[in-house]
């Protein structure tokens, strides 16, 4: 289960590029900073591997084992 903090995200897309399940996609909405940010399109498929958080330059993604 991942949580994306839209206030930190700058929309670089590294998480989308490296997600092994291809379940992240650039969203249609802009954040308060004016950037498009990624959204998880299939929450059940997420294995909490943490690669998105590993590649996120801004530490905008937090990973937890628990289901939301």
């Amino acid at each position: 289960m991942i949580t994306i903090n839209s206030l930190m995200c700058k929309g670089c897309g590294y998480c989308i590029r490296f997600c092994p399940k291809h379940i992240l996609e650039m969203g249609k909405e802009r954040s308060a900073k004016g950037f498009f940010y990624p959204v998880n399109i299939d929450k059940d498929a997420c294995t909490s591997c943490g690669i998105c958080a590993l590649m996120c330059p801004e530490a905008a993604i937090e990973v937890s084992d628990k289901e939301a």
Binding site: C12, C56, E58, V63, D65
Partner: protein, 247 residues
């Protein structure tokens, strides 16, 4: 299954870096390792001038700003006065490999007991993308609009190789931050360097290959591919010196 929380060593705000800049990732990695080692109250971050220095805005712990390229000299003084603190410099390539070359070579040669984190993005990012000593042959910059020509500007400077021939440094390694594997290796390398420093072993040098989407004139994802095809074949990642394992 992994758990990841934002490091406590960083303030709860976005960095001042451009979108996709791997400087921000390098800063985050250092913060992650310092959190893991529980040194966030004990670490001193020495920055000098350039985009590398922008990480002081998000750094929660102690930061000191040095003159351009002189971070190793300042870190030497701090470490000698406060030997119990974890001291590291965070420098870019225009800072460390150009104006600060004398300081870094001298500090490394003396074997000062601190860590240098060297973020190499092959350009002067803050001043607008001029050619740096590490700019690749043929790479375009604002001062080499037709690509770097070795006949007039020489060859890209390989800092890890230079450091590795010196007697004093104990750990010299280079990592590329453009893939999850590279990032994981880099984290291990930074951790090892900090542990060696805390054990009082001596000078440790970590080079991190980064990108500059703004001044390379590419999208963030394209810069990662560019690093794969151009940067990594020239600046080969790996451990160049590991005195502890050799001994």
């Amino acid at each position: 299954m992994a758990e990841y929380k934002r490091p406590q060593s960083l303030k709860p705000m976005a960095t001042p870096y451009c979108p996709g800049c791997l400087h921000a990732l390098a800063t985050r990695l250092v913060a992650d390792v310092i959190d893991e080692l529980q040194q966030s109250q004990n670490a001193i971050n020495v920055v000098s001038v350039g985009c590398s220095a922008l990480n002081l805005y998000t750094w929660k712990g102690d930061v000191i700003g040095a003159a351009h390229g002189r971070a190793p000299a300042v870190a030497t003084g701090i470490k000698r006065c406060l030997p119990d603190r974890l001291v590291f410099t965070y420098q870019g390539d225009g800072d460390l490999a150009a104006i600060g070359l004398a300081e870094i070579m001298s500090a490394a040669n003396r074997g000062e007991n601190f860590t240098v984190i060297f973020a190499n993005n092959q350009t002067y990012g803050m001043t607008g993308g001029q050619m740096a000593p590490t700019t690749l042959i043929g790479q375009k910059s604002t001062t080499t609009p037709f690509g770097r020509d070795p006949m007039t500007t020489g060859y890209p400077l390989k800092m890890c190789e230079l450091m590795a021939v010196l007697e004093a440094p104990v750990f010299v390694a280079r990592y590329a931050l453009n893939s999850p594997k590279g990032v994981m290796d880099a984290k291990k390398g930074i951790r090892k360097a900090f542990e060696l420093q805390m054990a009082g072993k001596g000078f440790t040098f970590i080079e991190l290959l980064t990108n500059c989407p703004t001044n390379w004139g590419m999208g963030p994802i394209d810069t990662l591919e560019y690093m794969n095809t151009n940067t990594i074949p020239y600046f080969k990642p790996g451990i160049y010196k590991d005195k502890e394992s050799e001994a």
